[in-house]
Each structure stands twice: as structure tokens, then as C-alpha cells.
Symmetry: C2
């Protein structure tokens, strides 16, 4: 009897090196544009998904989360951690990997790194939301917080929304210098600013992406003029926010999944019944997004499992026929499914 | 700048082939004995674990579950499916893999196949429970249901409890023939039986392990004599049980984690406040297990995340210094943790 595992026993695996190779192969702006389309398409069929708030395991220094979802045919989940103190130890604040499986059999069909993919899907989701909410003709974005996510945000807004100028600010000037350097050859006008206030001059879109695990006030009320779109992505766990409460009270607030955002997003500062709009309803055309030029729109983004699902499905399609994956012998799959022990015993010889 | 990922970017991976090699290298009965010790040690420190019922995604044909836990230092989770109809399609009913991570950093430290490991830990848990609950001097076990789990159960009871005779029964006689054949060279007296009643003759321990996703009655009340220990492992999801309710009413019932067992175990047939004993309290010496010779003890086992945690930690220790793992490039870990984009950009050249 053959000791070679059947085809079903192998799970395609996309390593970090392969993910980088694949994204370079396709082109990062194309990948961001494709991801925005995939995520938008899944937001249009939002009610169909099995939704549950993520399963979080909190410690004093961080959190480890599992984010599962399913569309009835495909199941997906992401493992992701969030440890703000990691940076000081030379480690990533956020690392992640994800998996797809077939609902019908429960067999995994893809395992992929998701540290890089999460950065890409977060940026693509932000830009996709802004396409529906930001003022028409926006060309300039303020980017407050110039950490690991910042370049991806800037490129996504260029590729998806037509942003041509980014104004960078971080309390750590070396972060701004690094971000500006990395963006130099990417066709954006990059302005390094010495304050949040300066970064917002002339910006129609304000993106905040800072990582302290605490209540912080990156934007105060007087800094935000009418008509802008705020893309707030750093406030994404209990006890961690970026915007002053008064800004929230002046804004039309759009969220991914209210039961999760009310616990993790900027709106944890508001009453539990404060009116918010689910983004998928805007995309699907059920409700209006931006309705007037002086309105402040706020996408209070915390990241949702469906975005990871869309990203993993995109990668599963994109790697086919490329050299950017390997096959992992991850599933024990004996010829006779009841003979797991026989498979084990025969492996001895 | 180096493009080689740092050591933290690599996650040790134990494939199915490596798991089989490792278990043969150590010896399966030794592995089962070691696992029973590891699981017992973790049951002794039960209150310390972060416990949550598993996160299940149900479909018409099966279930996909994530089972996380943490002891405050190490985080672990298992992905596992249950699809009874898979067998008819030549696939495994249950496949699984698992992961360990460091709570302090959120970085994964082990990825492992768990289809084989789940079979081993389930058998080790059953035998460990029986060591505390079965009548003293038990030598004969009835094994009802001779599927993929059965040989592992028989060997665990031999290694941990001193069982020397197993009496096999399955409605499918070919399953019994296969199980008996696989056990032939393992030092057990194996008796193939034509009915459940026949299998139970002279048995001090009765193990039931059938896989229908429905209420079934594998054991009826008149079949079960006084003084036996019942190890019921097949009833492990809502709507799936194996024992007649009357047997439960005559038994002292021991469970892993009541909030999960009341939904998934045999006791889903009973009132929600029916008295059950948590197994860890018996092991820790807080409450009595078996108190008299005529008592029927029942371990209503559904499988709990802590058992997987113990098994993964055992494998993480056991593979060190062996050739039974590879290193997966799963975690993006740039030299400068804020420079994820720079790492991506430099990978182009």
C-alpha cells in the first residue's frame, strides 16, 4: 500500500517570502486595487456570512485573536496578535496567518502568512470605504502615525481613490523619515510635517494609525474642519482610541460590524445606542454615505473577519499556476479513512 | 540589508509524516503514557487555564471548530472538523492541526498536524480518566465502535491502565476485522464479537466510540451491569449521543468542562442542573471518584482545548533535537519592526 499522502493531504502554503514575491509579481498597487474589489464584493453579500465577534485572549501586554467566518461554501479564519510593546524588542506589533477550508468536507485548502496580507487588506479596506465616503475629488491625505501600516495606506489611497499627495506626521520623526523614504519612488508627493495640525493642512482625508494600547487623543476637535473624511484605524481594541469624543459627536460614523466596533472602536467612547451606519449598507445602496459637502464622515475601522476571508480567497486564486507556494503535508489522509492506525503502523517500515 | 528572515520568523512545523516518525521513534505506548501524564499534570492546574467553549461553525454536513486556551505563558489552539459523511467519500471524519504561541509576544512557536495527535491525546485522556475511575484490577475492555479511534483507545488502556484483553464490536464487521488485524502484533488478547452484548461479557471497562451525527442508542440500560466504568467518547456534539438516558441516571458522571459537555455530551439528554463531577477535581483530590464496587462510573468525554494544549506542548518538547520537524517561514519579521514595507520593497531585488 502506498505511503504517499493523497492530494487532499497537501495544503498549499504561502510563506512570507512567497507572499512578497507574489505581490511584486502582480504589482502592489494592482494587488491593493484587486483586494479592494474583492472586499467590496464580499461587503455586498454581507448578510450571507456567518458573523461572530473575534475570540480574544487578553494578557497584560497584548492580545491573541482568532477571527473566523464562513460564506457557507468556504470557511476562513485568521490568527492575529497585537502587542504594542513588541516594537521596542525588535518584534512586530502585529503578526498573523490565516487558513481557508472547504465547508463541505472541513479539509483545509490554503494556509498563508497574513502579516503582510493584513497590512494590504487593511489598507485596501480603508481605501474602499473612502471611495464611498470621502469628498469627491480628494487629492491630499494626512497620514498621522507612520508605523508599519502607513506606506500601505498611502499606496492604497493612491491606487483606489486617486490621492496624489500625502502629508506625514508621527511623534517619532524617524518613523516619518522612514515612511517618506519608502514612498519616494512610488509616484506620490510626500510632505513630512512637524505636527498633526500641519499634516492636516489642505487634506480632504485624514488617516490615523497609531498603536498605543491606551486611550489617546491623536486628533482634538479644533483640528478637524468640516467636509473631511476620517479613516481611523488605530483604535481597534478595548481601551484603545485615537480621536477626541467631540469629533465623534460631529461625525457621521460608519462601521464594519457594530457588536465588535462598539467594544473595540472609537465609538467605545459613546453611548451604546449612538447611531452608526453599517458600511455594507452604503456599498449595497441601502443607505446613503456622504450626503453633503460640510459633513464629516468617519470610518471607525477595527478590522473584520470577512476582510481577511476576501484577502485569503484572492491569494488562493492568485497563486494558482505560480511558483509562489509550497504544499504542506498537514492532513493525515489514509487510503481507508477508518484506518488511521494502519497508516501510522505502515509508516514504520 | 539582509533579506534572510530572523530566527523568530521561523515556526517549527511537524507534518503528518514527521508525527508518525516521531511516535515510532519514541514508541506509541510510551507516547500514550507520556501524554496521559502531561494531560493529568495540566488537569491538576485546571483553574489556571483560560477556558472558553469551542467556537463552532456548523453546516448541514459537519462542523469546523477552533479550540483556544492559555495558561498565561503559552497560548494554544486547535482547528478541527467533524464530518461523519466524509468516510463514505474516502476522507477522514476528523482532521486537525494546532498551534502554540508565546503569550508575551504573540509569536507562534509550533505548528503541528493534529489528526494523528488528536487520536493519541483522546485515547490518553480516556485512559488517564479510567485510571482514576475504573474498578481496581480491570483487565478487560469492551470496544464498541471500531473506527479510526479504536486502536489508539485499546493501546492507551493497555499502556496506562494495564488492560490485557479487548472485546471488539462494530455494526460493520469489516471495521472489527481491520481493528483486530492492526492490534494483532501489539500484545493484547483481541476478541471479535458479533454484538455489543457479547463484547461486554466480562468487561470491567466499556468504551463507546461511534460517529453518527444523531441521537443513537449504542448501549441500552439492560446491557450495563453494576461496577463497570463507561468511557463514552462518541457523543461529542449537539444532537449526537450514544447511551440510553436510563444508563446516565444510574451512573456517577464525570466531565471535562460542564458548559461544553452539557451542550455536546451524553448529558445533553438530562436536565441542565443534573449533578456531574468535574474530572480535574477528582485528579486534584478535591472530590472522590469511584466510592464503591457496584457504582457505575461514566466519563462523558467530548474533548477539551486543554488536552490539545498538553499534547502540543509535549510534541514541542519531544521534537527538539530530532529530525522530525521543518522550519516554516510564516512570520514577517523585518529588522526594523516598523519597516514592514521596507522589507517588502527590498525583497524585489
Amino acid at each position: 500500500m502506498s505511503l504517499t499522502p493523497s492530494k487532499r493531504a497537501y495544503v498549499p502554503f504561502v510563506s512570507v517570502e512567497h507572499m512578497m514575491g507574489l505581490v511584486h509579481h502582480i504589482g502592489i498597487e494592482q494587488v491593493l486595487t484587486d483586494l479592494a474589489s474583492e472586499i467590496e464584493a464580499d461587503f455586498r453579500r454581507w448578510p450571507l456570512f456567518d458573523k461572530t465577534p473575534r475570540v480574544a485572549s487578553h494578557s497584560d501586554v497584548g492580545v491573541i485573536e482568532l477571527m473566523p467566518t464562513s460564506d457557507g461554501e468556504t470557511y476562513g479564519f485568521k490568527y492575529v496578535n497585537g502587542h504594542p510593546k513588541n516594537t521596542a524588542e525588535g518584534l512586530q506589533t502585529v503578526t498573523a496567518f490565516g487558513l481557508l477550508a472547504e465547508v463541505d468536507s472541513g479539509y483545509p485548502t490554503l494556509l498563508s502568512e497574513m502579516t503582510l496580507l493584513t497590512a494590504l487588506r487593511t489598507a485596501a479596506t480603508s481605501a474602499m470605504a473612502a471611495k464611498h465616503l470621502a469628498p469627491k475629488g480628494a487629492r491630499t491625505m494626512a497620514m498621522i502615525g507612520n508605523g508599519a501600516q502607513s506606506e500601505f495606506q498611502c499606496l492604497a489611497f493612491k491606487a483606489v481613490c486617486g490621492i496624489d499627495t500625502v502629508r506625514l506626521y508621527d511623534i517619532d520623526t524617524s518613523a516619518t523619515t522612514r515612511c517618506a523614504g519608502n514612498l519616494a519612488a512610488n509616484g506620490l508627493t510626500v510632505v513630512e510635517c512637524r505636527s498633526g495640525q500641519e499634516a492636516m493642512e489642505g487634506a480632504q482625508i485624514i488617516t490615523t494609525c497609531t498603536a498605543d494600547k491606551q486611550y489617546a487623543t491623536i486628533l482634538t476637535d479644533n483640528m478637524v474642519g468640516s467636509g473631511v473624511h476620517i479613516n481611523a484605524i488605530g483604535g481597534d481594541c478595548p481601551g484603545k482610541t485615537e480621536l477626541h469624543r467631540d469629533i465623534l459627536l460631529r461625525s457621521s460614523i460608519f462601521v464594519e460590524y457594530p457588536p465588535q466596533t462598539r467594544v473595540e472602536g472609537e465609538i467605545q467612547q459613546l453611548e451604546h445606542d449612538h447611531a452608526v451606519t453599517e458600511l455594507w449598507k452604503v456599498i449595497e445602496g441601502q443607505v446613503s454615505g456622504r450626503t453633503d459637502d460640510r459633513q464629516i464622515t468617519l470610518f471607525d475601522s477595527v478590522g473584520f473577519a470577512i476582510e481577511d476571508f476576501s484577502a485569503l480567497r484572492y491569494i488562493a486564486k492568485a497563486v494558482k499556476g505560480t511558483p509562489f507556494f509550497t504544499e504542506l503535508d498537514m492532513i493525515a489522509d489514509p487510503d481507508d479513512p477508518r484506518d488511521l492506525f494502519g497508516m501510522f503502523q505502515r509508516a514504520k517500515s
